[in-house]
Symmetry: C2
Subunit: 363 residues, 2 copies
């Protein structure tokens, strides 16, 4: 008998749409028209070629990607992009990578970039405890800036940009924990990328959307697998791509289109987040949110109860009613409810009700 | 209704054991004890921790890996290893990477390594058309050799070492298309690695087995994701690993143990290959094998008929009786039957019978 599924608030790998899982399950032994599993078919097969193309088409449609941008499916997660971006764009130039340090992930991106070239952290939220994003006025680019790098949504701290920074250089954005959660204005970006395992698919594939002039910056001395130019030239097929992960991203992007696209997802996401933040704000300080109010993430709701003991109890009691993986990241502690696209409203309502009950009992 | 599965002779991604696919299918919606899919659970969860540990244990047992070797699950395929190996081992040293160029893949490995440091191709089979491996006497290492790199089985040409080269420096081996097909003597290796999608799992994970002193060679200036030292320190969890691909490798390695381990697999593999080569040798020259007799691969049987027209017909007719993906690589042409561990003897017998019939009709 099939075991019961629980509501999974994991920050990543994270919840996927049930119809996606069911379709993948149904086809796992034999992909229609193949006589073999998606796990077994050649990346050079006609069938996989179609899967790749359809996934690209879906991404282009959902994110409204202009024609002068390449869509790539790479490996190694965001941490690999942290190195590849400066390796391709600022290494062997006299340009600087400008970075906004707004939390754990952007800080790490800047640190990895320093192995490749000149890096300037042009705003750092560390002293304030990473509770907000900078305003446009606070961002002072260097004269030699090749790009401004930022993380749209800091998964760990639960703080998110309401809109992209407004600057005069191309943006590079780590959108790992908010990709497909709302529309983006791609034309401001030199590159927008996201590891899949939060909002776009399983761990093992990274979506990279890059403007053609950025793609063309790769030095000819780079190993092939680290060169955007070579990867783009071969349409993500320089070597065997992570075929199954791309197939799941195809199913996820199809599901997103069925849901009405990113405007519709954004509306649902904001409503889900409001359920939790309203409960928090009405708790008379029992629950406290990590980030400042105007930068609260609608993807990762990071909060805490009055004590670490109550945090522990909260998580234990929640698990008993099938609300799972609510522990905050070890660096921030407390609770974190990741409520990505695939988390149904029903799960968020149950969590909200649990939170109200818990606060009543322990306030 | 479930569509019929065919016999899939693809060189990679390639056939997987049916019990592995069935187990994955059964658990895809809900991994026992998780309340969520393997695609959705955190890599930091207890359950995934156990999957990772069990996979490592299985690999250690199957390959008889000594304690002073690390077992890692990385991303980016063999092409990433082509660059990472010299980047970690010979860059910023006065050492040379010595390479045997025995076919497409080892040639490419040497070419990628040249972006990182001194490379010497100490034997090259190009003029002979990549039809064999060198004998030990033909291998003249340079005095500054840090390692001897070779490809155990050239997937495209279908030529395979009967045993590893016997030299005085540590070996680095690309075992992508023969991993787990026979026992290996790990103690001769500084590193043995394999992308999974031929004989070990799906595309998206690369198994790297590396001796501790090799792991420790990584320069401190490398980006984290390209440093074996950092990857090994975090036990393949420096960032989110390709969790699903590792899970499938766990199932494949469990299946291998149930089959009796690598001695038993080797015996079965040699028998399967003999069925095809015997038919070829008895065909009075109708079928010709690409490689020299003593280097014939028991994983990838690369052969051709008298004409390209007959090759085309062969593949078309074979597909009609559910023998699929028999086209040779575009650089070698003709046919290639990849008969990895998971290809059942039954499929090979059917192919052999088809080959005998086809030769009779068209000789």
């Amino acid at each position: 008998m099939q075991e019961e599924r629980k509501f999974n608030f994991s920050a990543g790998p994270a919840v996927l749409p049930v119809p996606v899982l069911k379709k993948a399950q149904e086809e796992l032994l034999c992909l229609p028209g193949c006589g073999a599993s998606i796990l077994e078919i050649s990346h050079r097969s006609k069938q996989f070629g179609e899967i790749l193309q359809q996934t690209k088409n879906n991404v282009r449609e959902l994110l409204n990607v202009p024609e002068n941008y390449k869509i790539m499916f790479l490996q190694g997660g965001a941490l690999t992009q942290f190195a590849m971006l400066p390796m391709n764009i600022i290494r062997n130039t006299n340009k600087s990578g400008n970075y906004l340090a707004t939390g754990n992930w952007s800080k790490k991106a800047a640190s990895e970039a320093k192995t490749q070239g000149k890096v300037d952290v042009v705003w750092d939220g560390k002293e304030e405890g990473y509770v907000r994003k900078p305003t446009d006025d606070e961002i002072k680019l260097t004269d030699d800036a090749a790009y401004l790098y930022f993380c749209a949504n800091e998964t760990i701290e639960g703080i998110q940009y309401q809109r992209e920074p407004n600057v005069d250089v191309p943006l590079i954005c780590d959108a790992s924990s908010e990709i497909f959660s709302r529309p983006v204005n791609m034309e401001k970006y030199g590159c927008l990328y996201a590891c899949a395992q939060k909002n776009a698919g399983p761990a093992g594939v990274t979506l990279v959307v890059m403007r053609d002039d950025f793609v063309d910056m790769s030095g000819d001395d780079l190993p092939s697998m680290f060169s955007y130019k070579k990867l783009a030239e071969k349409d993500s097929m320089l070597n065997t791509p992570p075929t199954f992960c791309i197939y799941i991203m195809k199913l996820v992007t199809e599901w997103l289109k069925e849901q009405g696209g990113l405007e519709a997802m954004h509306k649902k996401n904001v409503e889900k987040a409001r359920l939790l933040y309203d409960a928090i704000d009405a708790s008379n300080g029992f629950y406290r949110v990590h980030g400042n109010k105007e930068y609260r993430s609608f993807m990762n709701v990071s909060f805490r109860t009055p004590t670490e003991e109550l945090d522990k109890l909260f998580q234990e009691e929640a698990a008993k009613v099938n609300l799972t993986n609510l522990a905050g990241h070890r660096s921030v502690k407390g609770e974190r409810a990741s409520i990505y696209n695939a988390m149904p409203r029903e799960g968020v309502v149950l969590l909200r009700d649990f939170m109200l009950d818990f606060a009543k009992k322990h306030a």
